[in-house]
């Protein structure tokens, strides 16, 4: 059991790579989950709510390698519905900048072709 699901130590060093706005958004989130319900993205390995929760726990890698980050269509429903008035959508867009440079980035194939041709 312990082997299957080991305890993951919480370290927050990774978060230093984030910009101040994204850090503030993640910290201020009260984990209500409303943005996750509002999200229209089709690929849902994560959701806006899960992204913020993983950031709170310092697990930036998982966020940056998620397919969800590129599935966001920028509809901003998450930002509009946030009861803490956090700009979740902007945080997601800024996370893409970091994700693009990540060695295991899940940058979508078709976009890659478009850019490399």
């Amino acid at each position: 059991m312990h082997e299957d699901r080991p305890f993951r130590e919480i370290t927050l060093q990774d978060l230093e790579r984030l910009d101040p706005v994204t850090i503030r958004t993640a910290r201020s989130c009260a984990n209500c989950g409303r943005c996750g319900g509002a999200c229209l993205a089709r690929i849902r390995d994560l959701s806006p709510a899960r992204v913020l929760r993983l950031l709170q726990l310092g697990r930036l890698d998982e966020v940056l390698t998620s397919r969800f980050l590129w599935a966001c269509i920028g509809c901003r429903r998450c930002s509009r519905c946030c009861p803490q008035e956090l700009d979740v959508a902007t945080a997601v867009v800024r996370l893409r900048r970091l994700a693009a440079r990540h060695p295991r980035a899940t940058f979508p194939e078709h976009l890659l072709r478009l850019l490399c041709s």
Binding site: R8, R24, S28, N31, L57, G58
Partner: protein, 775 residues
Amino acid sequence: MPPKIGVYLCHCYGEIGKILDLEKLSQQAGKWRGVAASIHYPALCSADGLEIIAEDVRQGRVDRVVVGACSPAVHRDTFLRLARQAGLNEHFLERCNLREQCTRAHRDQPALAMAKARNLLKMAVGRLSPAESFEPVSSSTSRSVLVVGGGIAGLTAAENLARAGVNVTLVEKSPFLGGKVARLHRYYPRFCSPRCGLEVLMARLLATGRVTVHTLTEVTGVRGTAGNFMVELLKQPRYVKDACTGCGACLEVCPVEVAPSAALPPGRQRAIEGPGLFPYPLNYAVNRVFCRGKSCSRCVEVCPAGAIDLDQEEDRLSIGVDAIILAAGWEPYDAGRINNYGYGRLPGVITSMDLEVLARPDGPTGGQLIRPHDKKPVRRVAFIQCAGSRDKQHLAYCSSVCCAATLKQIDYVRAVAPEAGIFVFYMDIRTPGNLEELYRRTREEHGAVFIRGNPYAVEWDPGAEELVVTADDTLSGSRVAVRAELVVLATGMVPCAVPAFERLEKDTTGFITGHLPCSPMEVRRAGIYVAGCAQEPMDVSTSVKSALAAAAECLATIQNQSVVVPPVVERHKCDRCGRCVEECPYGACSFDTGGYPAVNPLACRGCGICQGGCPLRCIYLPGFSSREMAGLIEAVDTGSMDEQPCVLAFLCANDAYPALDLAGTRGTSYGANILAVRVPCAGAVNAGWINDALLSGIDGVLVVGCRTTECHYGRGTSLAESRVNNLRETLQRMLVEPERVQVLTAGIEDGQSLVAAIKRFVKQLQELGPNPFKE
């Protein structure tokens, strides 16, 4: 002189008059014995109607009044005012419910309504004929109050009572005042130092000159009731006389170091204690648990004032007071009992009260954020919320303050360690009202990480010399571990035990509280009020509020005016069995010097539970003497019900009576054979009345009380049930079916279900057939 009863019938602008033939009823009533005048009028509650009654009283034509109109639950003050203005004793005014429980309920059966109205009126007249007048009672008190507990609640209550001119005796079991609040570093929501608030309070308290303070004193016994409590006090020796100047020379030489708690190393604390930052009283005190006694005596030798006397002995004193405020406060739950968190075993695991000590500039680390036992700098702090709380193996309840207290302590940590990692393990964060802002600030500005999960364990990593907290974060669905130098357990609050008050009623959590929500401050022993955390877990501001509330309620009691007209004791009938003394829920009934029951008007709340239990019917509330009840029962015409069984229903005035009114008002028909008598509580119904009613041919008797958990007087309904059960055996011996008596319960809005239950009872009576005693 025979009574001159006036019967006044009200048409209620047709509500009553259209169904009942009031002209005929009025003529019939005029012929009854004792009735001097009988009239009907379109609206008795109008100015003209009231004047007719008042004029008759003033002219001496009548000296007792029956008002046949709406329910006594409405227009209460209208007719009370009339009685006062006309100079009529209010117990000589009897209301007869011809509207809610007659015309409204039986509008489809005018003939039966008429028979019921005649019965109800006759019962009212029969009861009023032998009635006696009662005057409101006042008794003299010296206006003195005992406050138990010298924490912020006790001090606040004492200060306010003293400012209102009351003489207060304040007892505190520890050597110094201020309680738990004096030990805090800061209190929320303003984050100011509690010393400031306590100083202001103390200054005002001392300025009154009306408060006598006894420290190191416990209450060992309480006798008596509101207005005349006798309290026994036991004063432990302080071993330091008033000559002490607080210089602290003794502290320098005392060889016995004392640790502030199981998890903290000894700091500057010694077996001789100074008053700390809130110096009241200023005198030092020797803690005999730790002191080596006269074999050491270094402090005695060094004291420049010669104030230390290790031969002092305990002192007993007894004082008389009118009321008691119990503000005994709380203790933190023993964190050592939560095995998997290692309190007292693992270095660096402390409680939130320990952190208050650490944060203070006069604490063992001088306010620095270092691990107390090895002085290792603290880079990460983990807070564990609900440590032992909301846990059936420890405290099943939420102590309500720990969430905000932890958020406050995160502020302490941030103030001295801006870079420290802060982790909070929680189940729910409960920050009502303005405290939500504190929660927001803690996340946003202090960057604390909140992990939703109660940790399974705290373990020690010997290599890194760190604590490891493991939990399941239920928000991310992953298992997480946090390494920390310091783990703070937010333990809950447990009420302080005061043996002298052990017999007071407690709620399921073990705290002493009054009737919620109606009279929360007064416990079920009139004259004793509860304030602060003795009542329930609460924060400082709520504690102050509760102390003010307790002081206000206490003041009302000692104003020498009774709340109700207390019951009368007919001493020539009484055999001094003591049942009333035993059963009174407020302790208002006690034995006088002759061994007879005496009712303390200040403590009586008028429930009538004493009269319900009296085997000889010699203690009774106004309107419920055996003559009055006999008059009422004899007046019932059991044959007028059109073959329907005749039922006498004793309805509790709090819930059941208004419930039946409501059913009538909504037009719920329930048969005109239910004759209701309003009683203050189901517990006020004497089994003798039921017996008399059945012997006089009434087919069935109902006693309807509040639902057992809702009784205003605690046990009224359950007492009624057990008394009726006892009566059933007697009935069986008299060959009366015991099923003719039933106890029901009803809430104030349960009109429909009450009617359904009554109908079932009537059906059962029909199956039994008429009462064998019926003529």
